[in-house]
């Protein structure tokens, strides 16, 4: 991509490439409090929203071009518009805070440092879709975040942003924080709804979609944390400001999470379309003395990339055109010390463990993938196993109710595409040629000797 290269060479100044909005005041003392949030223009977007009619508000969010930050990239305003109005049924907003996709680590730090951005977004969204009860479904395994959500909700009720007649608008709104109990599948929106109804978290067949028959069979919007938390800034600063960032089809800012064998892992908030090369260039690159081998653009369920893809614009279209998905922008980077067979085996064990068991291809397929991969990793595989892996993944992909099965197939397909030789090495060499000790965070720290 010559154009991208030119841009890269022209400027990799972090001040120009990054755009902290949600993370703009995470470094302030008591960043999670209502007081700090209000001092940073908090709840101003809500006041602007309440001055509009709900239908105009939905149209405004739609025109901003905001797309879902939970992985699929569905336009947020369009999701809101699908809620039938005047149907006499209660409407619900359910925020998906079940962040569990391997590699994904954006919503949890966002909620820990700035929970009010979510709450403000919830009030705006509920006003738009005429909902008087919203839920935050938070994964249970993050108690520090749960504490701050409990506190932020308490503050918001006390300040009149929740409860009866919010800011004199006539909107009555209850907000319930609901802690899950440990199940990756509950990040899938219909499984999440079943779980919130007090059942096993198993995906539902669609249609009907949640917009028609969601929570308690009522019209329901399910949005990711970051999507909803982005709405207040759009209202406060305007949709033109929002669309001035990113690309036409992927406007705005978002959180990129850099992790793994990089010099500076962490959160980088930037306009959509930044490249991994730009992020690495500004943050110190890979850890000293090592080079990038493979990475995921958006969590383990998105097909992996290699160092050939450093200049792929990280927006919905760019990553899609390069054969993967933007997903959750979880940029897990692995260097040359990492065995790709080990990485894929572990991810596949995860999918097998987390498969809810409802659909046969996923339940049985992930089980057999794990058996084959463990054998290959241990040097007990046969060359024909590689075709078998591909075949089983093909029998899972697209053949189950939800995307967990597709996610399980992604690492298999993509690793076989880019690293088939490495699989073959395990088979012909009857073992793994890598030393896991060299991959650890402390491997290059020579002062520390572990037994």
């Amino acid at each position: 991509m010559t154009l991208a290269t030119e841009i890269n060479n022209g400027s990799s100044s972090p001040e120009k490439l990054l755009a902290p909005v949600l993370s703009a005041f995470w470094d302030q003392p008591d960043s999670w409090t209502l007081e700090t949030y209000e001092r940073h223009e908090g709840y101003r977007g809500l006041r602007k929203a309440l001055a509009m009619s709900p239908d105009d508000l939905i149209a405004y969010v739609k025109e901003s071009g905001l797309r879902g930050r939970g992985g699929a990239g569905f336009p947020t305003g369009m999701k809101w518009q699908f809620i039938p109005q005047g149907d006499g049924k209660p409407h619900y907003l359910v925020v998906n805070a079940d962040e569990s996709e391997p590699g994904t680590c954006k919503d949890i730090p966002l909620l820990f440092a700035n929970p009010h951005s979510l709450i403000e977004g919830i009030v705006i969204a509920c006003y738009a879709i005429r909902s008087s009860h919203a839920f935050i479904y938070l994964r249970g395994e993050v108690v520090p975040v749960l504490r701050r959500l409990h506190e932020a909700v308490r503050e918001a009720y006390a300040a009149g942003y929740l409860g009866r007649n919010v800011l004199g608008s006539g909107l009555d709104l209850e907000l319930t924080v609901h802690a899950g109990a440990g199940a990756y599948i509950c990040g899938e929106e219909t499984a999440l709804l079943d779980s919130l109804e007090g059942r096993r978290g198993q995906p539902r067949l669609r249609p009907p979609f949640p917009a028609v028959a969601g929570l308690y069979a009522c019209p329901t919007v399910v949005n990711n944390v970051e999507s909803i938390a982005s709405v207040p800034a759009i209202l406060n600063k305007g949709k033109d400001w929002f669309t001035s960032m990113g690309s036409e089809k992927s406007p705005g800012f978002t959180l990129y999470s850099l992790s793994g064998h990089v010099a500076s892992p962490g959160q980088y908030e930037a306009p959509l379309g930044i490249t991994l090369r730009q992020l690495l260039d500004m943050s110190g690159g890979m850890r000293p003395g090592h080079r990038l081998k493979f990475w995921t653009p958006g969590g383990s369920s998105t097909p992996m990339f290699t160092d050939e893809h450093l200049d792929v614009p990280l927006d919905y279209e760019g990553v899609g055109a390069a054969g993967s998905m933007l997903g959750t922008k979880a940029l897990q980077c692995f260097d040359e010390t990492t065995c790709v067979v080990r990485a894929v085996t572990r991810w596949t064990e995860f999918y097998a463990h987390e498969s809810c068991g409802k659909c046969t291809p996923c339940r049985e397929g992930t089980y057999w993938l794990v058996q084959l991969l463990r054998d290959i990793e241990a040097g007990k595989g046969e060359t024909s196993d590689l075709d078998k892996l591909n075949d089983i993944a093909d029998n899972i992909n697209g053949k189950s109710f939800c995307a967990l099965g597709d996610g399980a197939a992604s690492p298999i397909f993509s690793s076989l595409k880019y690293f088939r030789e490495e699989y073959e090495q395990h088979i012909t060499g009857k073992g793994c040629p890598f030393d896991p000790a060299k991959s650890t965070a402390w491997a290059d720290n020579h002062k520390e000797v572990t037994a």
């Binding site: 308490r154 109804e197 260039d281 995860f350």
Partner: protein
């Protein structure tokens, strides 16, 4: 011994809670049910609640949930066994979970888990003899930029090494105060389960403990504000770079 062999035969109904415990839990249950338009939605928090009473989800706890919510024990059992956070056997005061999903595993989680198993003399999902520590490996806990991560009673212990993790479990077993890198000073597993049931942590200072965002959460912001030198050290493909520092 025949009593060691489970034939999967139906068991007698579980005994109920003592009257005073039941009265107290019923009051909590009413508060939970009141949060939802439909009472069945209270089931997950109520399972956390009964876990906060006994440290794991017992047949008594499940029967209580069924009774309060008008469900069958089979319906409750089906839910309780689906979710990994509900323990099904007595366990320790401190649940030490080592992330061994791919990224943490590669970054050292596998080594930490192996060394902790050896150090504590327990296997996965087993408890030390003193009843203090239950060790298990866990899946991705949304803190990959702090890898390798260990969770204790679901508080974050970031950027761990085998040494730091071994010291931490030693401190837990010796009754010394242990503080996470992100989260509040540790309470017991039962107390944690009560927060998960939706009852806010009332301990002074618990909400603000360990301050705002963790260090990794701030690296992008600091770069954008020009507070960290713009570094160019290693190119992703490993070419040598002439530009170090600014």
């Amino acid at each position: 011994m025949t009593e060691q062999i489970s034939l999967g035969m139906p068991q007698l109904p579980a005994p109920g809670y003592p009257a005073d415990v039941r009265a107290r839990l019923e009051e909590d249950a009413r508060a939970i049910v009141a949060r939802y338009p439909d009472s069945r939605s209270a089931l997950l928090p109520m399972l956390h609640l009964v876990q906060s009473e006994e440290g794991h989800v017992t047949r008594t706890g499940m029967a209580f949930c069924a009774d309060v919510l008008g469900l069958t024990t089979a319906e409750v059992t089906a839910v309780a066994t689906f979710y990994t956070m509900y323990r099904r056997k007595p366990s320790g005061d401190y649940q030490v979970g080592v992330c061994t999903n791919t990224l943490c595993a590669v970054m050292g989680g596998d080594a930490i888990f192996e060394e902790l198993k050896e150090h504590l003399g327990v296997g996965n999902n087993e408890t030390t003899e003193d009843g203090k520590v239950t060790l298990e490996h866990i899946e991705c806990n949304a803190a990959c930029d702090f890898a390798p991560v260990v969770m204790v009673n679901w508080e974050f212990f970031d950027n761990q090494t085998p040494e730091s993790a071994k010291k931490m479990v030693d401190d837990l077993r010796a009754g010394r105060t242990v503080e996470p890198t992100r989260g509040a000073p540790l309470c017991t597993f039962k107390e944690t389960a009560r927060i998960l049931a939706g009852f806010p942590d009332e301990r002074p200072g618990a909400v603000e403990a360990t301050g705002g965002a963790g260090p990794a959460s701030l690296v992008g912001l600091r770069l954008a504000k020009g507070e960290q030198p713009h570094r160019r050290i290693v190119h992703p493909r490993g070419e040598t770079s002439g530009q170090e520092g600014e």
